[in-house]
Amino acid sequence: MLEAGEPRDRTAAGVSAAAGPLAEDDGMALLDPARLSLRRGPTGVLRATVAGPAGLSYLQLAVYRAFPLSEPGRWVTLLDGEGREIGTIADPAALDAESGRLLAEECDLRYLTPHVVEVVEVREDTTEGGGWSPTLIWVLETDRGPLRLRLPNLVDHVRALGTHRYLIQDREGRRAEIVDATALPAASRAWLRRYLWL
C-alpha cells in the first residue's frame, strides 16, 4: 500500500513502462491519470478509455471511494461492468478537466451524503422508544434540499468523524454530514449542543 503522503509523481513514472491500463506500482493497481479519460456513453452511463498501445476501453464503470470519509477526494477505485477491478486513481485532480468533473459527479451520486446547512429542529418522538430513549427526528436543511432523519438513538446513528465533523445515518440508511459544526448558525449549534457531545 502507498502511504497517503507519498509523492504522486510515482504514478507518472509508470507511464511508459506498463503496456496495460495499469501503472504497476508496489502491487497497487494505480491508474495513470494522464492516459485515462472518462466520458458518458449514449445512455448516460460512464465509460472509461485508457490510451496507449493496448487502448482499452470500458463500456460500463462503477466508481468507489476507498476512503469515503477520511479522504474522499483521493483514492477512487474503478470497477468494470462485471465488477472486476480496473484500477485505482490516486489523485482525481490529475485527470483532464472533463474526466475529473464526471468522476466527482459519479462519486457524489454513489456516496449521496447531503451536507447540513441548518439544523431546523430536533424533535423527540416519545411514542417510539419511550420517554427515556425517544426516537429523535432531525429536521435538517441540506445543500441538496430539506431532509428529515429518524434516529432511534444517537449512539448507533451518529458518528463523530472529527472534533466538529459528524456523520448522521438514519435507520433507513439515509445520510447527512455536518462538515463543520462551528460554521452552522447559532440556533443549529444550540440543537447540536443539546444532543451531540459538542
Partner: protein, 779 residues
Amino acid sequence: MTTDQPRPSAESGQTGALPDAIPSAGPPLCVASDLTEDGRGGRRWLVVADGEARVLAAAGLWPATGPGLGVDAEGALAGGRLVLAPPPPPDAEVTRRLPLGEVTGARVEPFVGSGALLAETRRGPVTLLRGSAALAADLGLAARALASLAKGEPLEIDPRDLPRHCPRCGRRLPANTRVCSSCVNRGAVLRRILRYAHPYRFQLGMAMAVTVIGSFVSVLPPKLSGWITDGLVYGDWPLHGRLGHGLAGLASLVTLLLAVSLLGILLQVWRGRVANRVGSQVMGDLRTTLWRGVQNLSLSYFDKAQLGEIMNRVSVDTARMQEFLTDGAPYFISEMLQLAFAVVLMFSMSWRLALVAILPGPLMIGTSYVCWPLIRRYDRRLWGMMARLNVVVNDALSGIRVVKAFGQEPREIDRFGAVSDRLVQQNIVTNNIWVTVFPIFGFVSGLGNILIWYVGGALVLHRTMQMGNLVAFTGFMGLLLGPLQWISNLVNWMTRAITSAERVFEVMDTDPDVAEAEDALSIGRIEGRIRVRNLQFGYAPHLPVIRGIDLEVEPGEMIGLVGQSGAGKSTLINLLCRLYDPDQGEITVDGHDLRRLRQDELRSQFGVVLQDSFLFDGSIAENIAYARPDATREEIMRAARIANAHVFIVKQPDGYDTMVGERGARLSGGERQRIAIARAILHDPRILILDEATASVDTQTERAIQEAIARLVRGRTTFAIAHRLSTLRGAHRLVVLDKGRVVETGTHDELMARGGRYAELVNAQRENARMAGEVGIGA
C-alpha cells in the same frame, strides 16, 4: 392514511392505491422516487404504459408524511399491475421515454444512502430513477416488474413483499412486523401484559385488598399522634375518653400506634411477597412465550436483527417489565391510595388547612415536569458514554490475543483512558443536575410544611383549631409530598416498561417469512426426487443472488455444487432446506412444492453437515443423538463407528459422556466434523446437505472423513458444496454455478473434457495445490 396531510394522490382525484381501490385498468407499473437525477430532493415517477417506460418529473417535494424526504405511499398488486405510488399529477413532465422493446432487463444499483433503478438495453444501461435508501425495496420490486413486463411475462411478485403501512397512522412499517411502533395503543399493551396475569387473578385480588388496607393503615400514625397531643395539651382524650384518661389513655394510644405500625409492616411484607411471586411468574410465562416466538422466527429475521438485540429483548426487556410489575405498579398504586386517604382525612379535620397543604402540589408536579426531561436527556447521554466504555472493554478483552500479539497494550490503556475521561466529565455534569434538582424538590415540599406551621399555628392561636390537628397535619405532609415528587417519574417508569413490552410483543407478532401452508401436505417418507424450476431469490429484494436455476435430481443422486464464493451455492442450499422461500420459481420434492409440505416432516428428512460443525453444550452422546433423543447407546455407537468417530471418542477420558460445546472438551475441527456426520447418520435423512464438509484438516483425517461421508451419502439424495474440488470425488454429477446461474453440469471427466468454467477452476486449484505441495483432484 393521515387526514391532516394532503397526499399527492388527492390532486389527481384518485384514491390511495389500496388493494381494493386500485382500478383494474391503468398503467401496469407505477413507482415514485424522492431524488432527482443529480441527487437532490424531488418528485419523480416511473410509469410503464402504452408499451414504453416513462420517467416523469414534477416540481416540489413530497409531503413529509414519513421520515425524511421519502415518498411514503402504499403498494398494491392487482390485475397484473404493480402500483407503488400515487399517479403523477397531470402537470408532471415526461423527461425520458424508453420503448419496452429496447429493455432487456432491469436492476437496482445500491449506492451509499441511495440507489438507482437501471434498465438494461442493447445500447447499455439507462438510469431511470434515483431514490433514497428508504426506497430500496420499492425500486427493487419495480425492477423485477419492469423486467417481467419487458419480456411480456405476467408479474410474479409475492404480495408479502409489498411495502406495508400502519392502518392507523399510515407510516410505512419496517419489514417483518405487523405492529407500528409509533401507534401502539398504550392501553392495549397494558391490557395485554395484564392478560398474562389472568391465571393469578386470585392472588392479585388479595394483593390489591392488602394494598388498600395497608395504605389506610399507613395514614393512621399522624392521626394518632394528633390524638396524643390533644390529650396531653388539653386533657381531651379521643372517643370521649373511652380509651382511658391520663397515663392510661396515653398508654392505650401508644399501644395503638405500635400496633398500627406493626400491622403496616406486616401488610407491606405480605403485599411485596405476593407481588413478587405473581410478577415473577407472569414474566416467566411471558419469557417462555417470547422464546417460543424467537425460535419460530424465520432465519431471515436473524439476518436483519442483531443477535445482541434479540438477547436484550429476551433478558433486559422482560426484566424491565418484571420490575414494573413487581415494584413499579404496586408502589404506584399504594402511594396513590395513601395520598387519597391522607387528603380525605385532612379535609375531614380542617378544610382550610387541607387546602393550604395541597397548595405546593401543583408547583411540585410542575417543577418535576420541567426537570425530568432534562434529567432524562443527561441520563441518556451518560448511558451512551457507558455503552462506549463497554464497547472498548469488550473489544480489548475478546481481542486480547491480537492486542498481546501486536504489543498494543499501552494503546488499549490509552483508548480506555480517553473514553473513561469523557465518562467522568459526563458523570460530573449529570450528577450535578441530580444534586441540584433534589434539594430544590426538598425545598418546594418543605414550603408546604412552613405554610402549615404558619396557617395552622394562627388557627391554633385563634382557638379555631386544636394543637393535635396541627401535629397530625405536619405528619400528613410527609405522606403527601412523597408521591407528588415522583409522579412524573412514575409515568416515565411506566413508559419504559411499556416500551419494553412493545419490543417483546413485536417479536411475538412477527410473521414468519417461511409460513406453514394452511393445508400443508403430509407425504410421509420421501423418496428424494428434487426438481428446481426457474428459481430466483435474493436476501434483499433488489439484490438477486439466485438468478434463475433449473435442476433435476434423481433419488439417491449425489450432486456436487461448484463455484466461486458468492456464486450462490450456500443460498441454493438454504432454499432447498426451506430456510427461505424463493422470490420466483419453485422447488419440488417428489413432485410437491416445498411450500405446500409440512415443515416438521420436511425437516425431519433433511440432514445437514456444516463447515463449522456446531456442537451444543452437552455430552458427545447427546450431540450425536440431537435429532433423535430416544436413540439407544448402541445406535449412537453404530453411528459414530460409521462416521469413523468411535475410536477417538472412546479415547476421551469420559468417552461418550465427554462434555463438549462452550464449556466442554476441546475437539479438533476434524473430530467435530465426524461427530456432526455421526449426528446426520443417526438422523437418517432422505436428503443430505454437506457444506464444505472437509476443509482445513490434514490428509489422514480427510481420508477418514471422506470414508465416513461415502457411507453417509449411500442411498440418499445429496447436495455437497466444497471449495476443495477433491472432496466431490464421489459425486454423480457436478453442477457449476456462476453469479446465481447454472453454467455447466456433468461428471468430472465430462466437464474437464469440455474445458469450460469447471476446468478453469480445477486448473486454478491444481496450480495452488502444486504451490502448497498438496494433492489436487485426479492427481
